[in-house]
Every structure is written in C-alpha cells, then in structure tokens.
Subunit: 424 residues, 2 copies
C-alpha cells in the first residue's frame, strides 16, 4: 500500500472541506485507489479552525520549513489564495521535490511559468484541477481525454457569484445593486466583489483553460475583460423578449489561426444548454475537431465541491509514476501576433434617442456605412424619449466600435445605454 | 520518445474514425503527449475499407495470431462489436500482455469479469472509455476525478438513437413508427432497431457506469429495462402540457444501502438540463456526496466522437506505468440482496374510461387504498369516452402496480394506456 504524507496550507473554506473529505473518505480512498493518505502538517495561524475540525493540533503550525524538511510529506495542498505567501511557499516546496495541489487560479494564471520551472527543477508535479470550475473535472478532461483532438473553442460560465446575480436579476426582475447586496449578505459575494463582478476570476480561469486547450500560453493580458456591473434589469428584460438569456461568459476560440479570448456579459438563446445553468452552477463547452461539442456542468465553488477536486488531484498525483509538465513553451512573454482582439460577434444595442422622425434613418446609415448589418430593430417609448433596440448581424468589433462612436455624436441620440455581445 | 505499436481489430465506423484520427493527429500526439503511435496491424476481411482510408494494405490481415505474436504491438483496439469473435480474440491478446481498448459495451457489460481475469493474468490493461457515451469522458471522470466522493446516483440519456426519435416526436408531433422509419432511412437507427429502442444498449452502458460509480458489480440482470416503442405522440403532448419532456433515461441510485438500476421512458421537467439534450446528443448526471451534481454532455456515438475516446484511451494506456484493475469483486454472480426493484417514483398515468359520473371516485379510491396519492388529475374528451391523466406523488413500484391491476378490472375503465415514470 502506497503511504502518502500530505500538508495542508491554510484551513479556510476549501482547506477545511479538503480536511473533512480526507478524514471521512480515508478508508474508501485506501480501498478503492490504493493510496493511504496521512495529513502530516497543517499551516494555519488560527488554531481554533483546526480545533473546530477536530484536527490533531500538534500538526498545526505556521512554519513552512517544517513541511519542506519533512521527507515523508510528498504532496502539499495550498489554500491561501492570492499571490504571496503562496508563491514563495509553493516554489520552495516544488524545489524540495514536493508535488503541489492547488485551487489558486490567480497565482496559477499569473505565475504558472515560474511554478513549472520550479517543478521541473525539483522533479515534482503540479496539479490544479481545483483552480477552474470547482469540482467539475475540466482540467482532467483537457489533459487526459482530448488527446485525439485539436480544440477549436472553449466557452462557458466559470464564475458562480456572477451567475447567481444574473440568474436572480433575470428570474425576479431585480436591479444589479439590489441583488449584489443580497448576495453579499448571504455570503455568495465578497465585501469587495470586484474579483468576481469585474470578471477577473473568470479571466484567470480562462487563461489556464485556454492554455491547456490550445497548448500555448494564453496570458491574462491577452484576454479582453468586461464585468457585469453595468447590466440593468431592462437589458435582461428586453433580451428575454427576443429569446435570449444573459450570462457572463468566458470564451476562447481559434479564428484564422489566432486565439481570441474574452470575458464579457453575453446573450445566448434561451434554449442553449448554458441558459439553464443557474445560480452558483458553472458550465463549460469544449469543441474538439473530432469529438465535437462536449459540455461539463457542476458546482464551481464551495468547500466540498472544490475540496473534491483537491482530493482527486492528491490521489491522482500519488498514483503518477512521473510528474507531467506542459508540452508547450510555458511563458507569459508571448507575442501579440498569435492573438486577435478584433472579435467577430453579433450585438445587442440599446439607445435612448429623441422621439422624432428621421432618427432611425440617421442611425441606420451610420451602421450601414460601417458594415454593421441590422437583423432586428425594436422601438419602445421611454417617457418623452424613444428607446431603440438593435440586434445586429456578425460584425467585427472595430467596425462596431467605430459606428457606436459616430452614433454617440448624433444630436438626436441621448445615450448608447448598452452594447452586449450575442453568441449563438 | 515512447514508441507504441497498435493493432486495430475491424475497420467499421468507429474503427475507420480511429484510423483517421491516429493518422491525422499522429504528430500532434507525439508532440503533446510524448507517444509515437504506430499502427502495426489491421484485422479486416474487407480490404477495400482499408484502401478507401489510404491504409498500407500490407498490414491488413485476418489472423489474430499475427497480432498476438508481434512483440511490438502493445495495445489492441477492438471494433468488432458483439460477443464473438471479440471475446476470444481480446482474451488471447490480454493473456499475451497486450492492453485492450474497446467501445464494445455489450461484451464489457456481459463478460467484464473474464476480461479482467485475463488482463490480470497477462499483466495488461483494460480501457473502455469509448464503451459509454461516445466521446464524453465519463469513465475517466468516474475513475480519475471522483476519488473524494461516495457516489449517490447516476442518471442520464446514454443512447442517441432513442433520443433522436423522442426529440423528433416531441418537436414535430409525430408518431413513433413514422419517426423510426425516418431514422432508419437516415442511418440513425438500425434495420433491426431493438438494441436501441428496447433499451438494451442503455442497459449495457448503465451496467458499466453503475459498477464504476458504486464500486460493486451491477450485472445487467439486476437492471429493470423498458424501451420506447409503446410511447405515443399523445403521451408526449400531454406531458408537455404539464411541463414535462420525455426522455429514455438510464438511472441508478443508492437507496437505503441498496442499488436500484433501471432504464425506462421518463418525464423530466422542461427546465431540467437534460430536457435540452436533443437529437443524437447524450447527457449524464453524477451525484457525489462532496461534489454534488456534475453533468457531462456530448455526442454519444459516431466515427470521430467515439474514435476520439478510443484514441484518448490509447494515449492514456501508453502513459500508464502499470495497468489498473477494478478495486471491487468483479463478478456477475452477485446476490440479489444488494439490489432493489421496488423503486420509489412519481408516475404519469393515462386511462381511457367510460364518460359517466362516479368513475373518478372509483379510481381515486383504489389509488388511495394502495397508498398512491394523486398530485394532479386532468380529464379530456376522446370521442364518446373520457381520457383521464393522473400525476401521482412518489410511490413504491409495487403499490402502483397493484393499484393499476385493480383499476384495469373496473368495468368503467376501457384501458390503462400509459404508465410513465416521472423524475424531478
């Protein structure tokens, strides 16, 4: 029987969940997977967290060297989050030959090359299934199940907080600020919600997933990012009337040999499978040239779902005969050449205009001049103004932005209220 | 670089797809996964199939001994389907130390114990990702990503042919026989469609998946099976009116420590994610005690989707340091004790009755006497008769069947037309 010593760095939400799974499932894992996991160290300042879990407090400490100097600790699972001290600690562990299991998407998306260099140096492994889409086995799918495919695209809902907010806005017709407040009260959103609502968390995950999918590093600075804080209940309502559901999507595609990667609010058809991914659930589509579309769905966060991915990685790591590294040049210093930001999308536009004849004709002519072709136009009254909604056919980002900047200058246009991409 | 010799047994649909992927993706697999795959043997009587694919005809033959006696052939991928000669050939290959990759769900669900015994004997591996849900990585998920979970249930759409038929009946209001004929014409259904429409294919897959999920053998004779050939367009229409979509589901659950495993037409809520799984797509939910619900979705069949799973298994097998075997007692000779067939379900019932006062009261009293509680009743006219539709609350299978047999005896009841389970 393989005996594997593990250290847990941090006993927060996911650290605590992992501890509970390792203890409760210890015997089952031993029987089913042939791995006898022993928790040998816990790094945690707040000893009461360990006490609450019923952990042996004699293994709880604050000194990473106790972990590094223990030859029987083979795997280190990190739950600090953020860059430091996680980065320094993990590099030390890797150099000491200890494999790393982590859910830290920010660290991984920003410093993967340095972590991998340390891993190679220490002949240790890097496992990060838990960093993306919680308990859903998306990393394992990309690395262990798609070997017969060139991946064309990857897109989905990878952040539960924003999906909860958008689902609630949609189902109950509420405004963003009110739902955010409620989500914060319930603990679904942080006091400072920016990492989620501004799309940073989705961007980190998209960077990791796209790099694995396209086997080339997709650094975060190559990803277009737009959050959900400007979305109004009216956008959602008008979209619904046209048959669309609004989601914050992380999208990456290969188009003409270039990668386009973006995070933004997106209208999808009501009968698209992602439209029924609600609340804190996540869902991701992967399109391979041979397998076609596959989709993975599940809880994207939480102590036990993410702990499940951590434990899966610990068992997987313990059963690997040799550590695996990326087969592409893993560096953040990539050329802009491989990436495109001139996306081709359909768009939903909402404008407030003066309610008089000739306005539509002026706007239409600007759109046409910029090669933006209108699919559908709706006019609604809004007090003494008119509200115009356009759905436009696929167009280049640059053409649309140019058209919008010209439309904004029209004296008959009060405001361009919403520009929302549509994917079908 | 690891060089791996492969033999392909059969060049039918999936065999041909696998050949094409191995050739087209040879260099990518070499670069990305460090495996240089060489096709060394093809077993195929019809040499024109090999010629059409542009294969080297000098490696095409009909003698399994050429494969067995070649020390450089390490992995054998089987595409014959059915029991023989696949079983005899694969056991010979396993005993000769060659790992097996297969999509053969019938063979696997019926003879897994013998195959595994031969594998252990020959120190070879058994890989069967392609046997269930085509290109969707469900086996890898169950074996490599759920180690931190006890699995509570597994259910989904695992047969594309029946899903195509039911989707088309639902979307276009057609009768079963007409859609089946069309599906046969298009090649989506076999000339003898029984394996699909009578639920055998789903049963084979459920046996394999449930065994892995519950880590105990779930033989096919412990699985309740009911096909779709008695479904009418009226059932689908009336279900729709009540907010339900009809799917052929494969379901297995642990209930009070016993496994219940069943394949039958099932009404699910219209907004259930499986309701939007249409046409030839498959979708499966797995519920683990820690990860909660996860769902996998994709094409369940076809040359390239299933070929993708075969190639993934070949690469996976090539990279394993030692073959893995099931950790449970893998035998078809299991006791009935671990299984239950007295399912607890909601039901949709459709009856044709004489249109007169007092009928409903008679039926209701029989249902009540048998502890079957009515959730909803609808009456519709049907020429000079009345049509009654009941939705009943969760009830034991045995109680419902007893009630039905009593209702059928009532002189005011012409016929019990449909008994369809409802899962929510």
């Amino acid at each position: 029987m393989k005996k594997v010593g593990v250290a847990l760095l941090g006993l927060g939400t996911v650290g605590g969940g992992t501890y509970r799974i390792l203890v409760n499932n210890h015997d089952a894992i031993k029987k089913n997977d042939g791995v006898d996991i022993e928790i040998r160290h816990i790094l945690e300042k707040d000893i009461s967290k360990a006490e609450k879990l019923g952990a042996d407090v004699s293994i709880v400490g604050t000194d990473i060297n106790a972990v590094i100097n223990d030859p029987d600790t083979k795997i280190v699972a990190e739950f600090f989050g953020g860059i430091e001290p996680a980065k320094t600690f993990l590099i030390k562990c890797l150099l000491a030959g200890k494999s790393i299991v982590t859910a830290n998407k920010e660290l991984f998306s920003k410093h993967w090359p340095e972590l991998e260099a340390a891993a190679k140096n220490g002949k240790a492994g890097l496992y990060f299934e838990a960093s993306c889409v919680g308990g859903v086995p998306i990393i394992r799918t990309l690395t262990q199940s798609m070997q017969g495919n060139n991946i064309n695209s990857l897109y989905g809902i990878v952040n539960g907080t924003t999906n909860y907010i958008l689902s609630k806005m949609s189902d109950e017709g509420l405004e963003y600020a009110d739902v955010l407040k409620e989500a914060q009260r319930l603990g679904y959103a942080e006091a400072n919600p920016s990492a989620d609502v501004d799309g940073f968390d989705s961007m980190y995950k998209l960077s990791i997933l796209s790099s694995l999918a396209f086997r080339t590093k997709v650094p975060i600075n190559q990803i277009y990012r737009e959050g959900i804080s400007n979305i109004t209940k009216d956008d959602i309502k008008f979209g619904k009337e046209l048959g669309y559901t609004l989601k914050l999507l992380a999208i990456s595609k290969k188009v003409d040999g270039k990668i386009e990667a973006r995070v933004h609010p997106t209208f999808i058809k009501n009968d698209h499978p992602l439209a029924s991914v609600k609340g804190s659930f996540n869902g991701v589509f992967i399109n391979g040239d041979n397998v076609g579309d596959i989709m993975l769905y599940g809880k994207g966060a939480g102590d036990l779902p993410t702990g499940s991915a951590i434990v899966s990685d610990i068992v997987f790591a313990a059963n690997q005969s040799k550590p695996q590294y990326t087969s592409f040049k893993n560096t953040n210093d990539v050329s802009d050449k491989g990436f495109s930001k001139n996306f081709i999308c359909k768009y939903f536009l909402r404008l407030t205009v003066v309610d008089q004849a000739g306005v539509l004709s002026k706007i239409s002519s600007i759109l046409a001049k910029n090669k933006v072709s209108v699919n559908l136009m709706q006019q609604k009254n809004k007090e003494d103004k008119a509200l115009l909604i356009f759905l436009v056919h696929k167009t280049h980002e640059k053409d649309l932005q140019k058209a919008i900047s010209e439309i904004e200058k029209l004296s008959c246009v009060d405001s361009v209220d919403s520009i929302i991409r549509v994917e079908e």
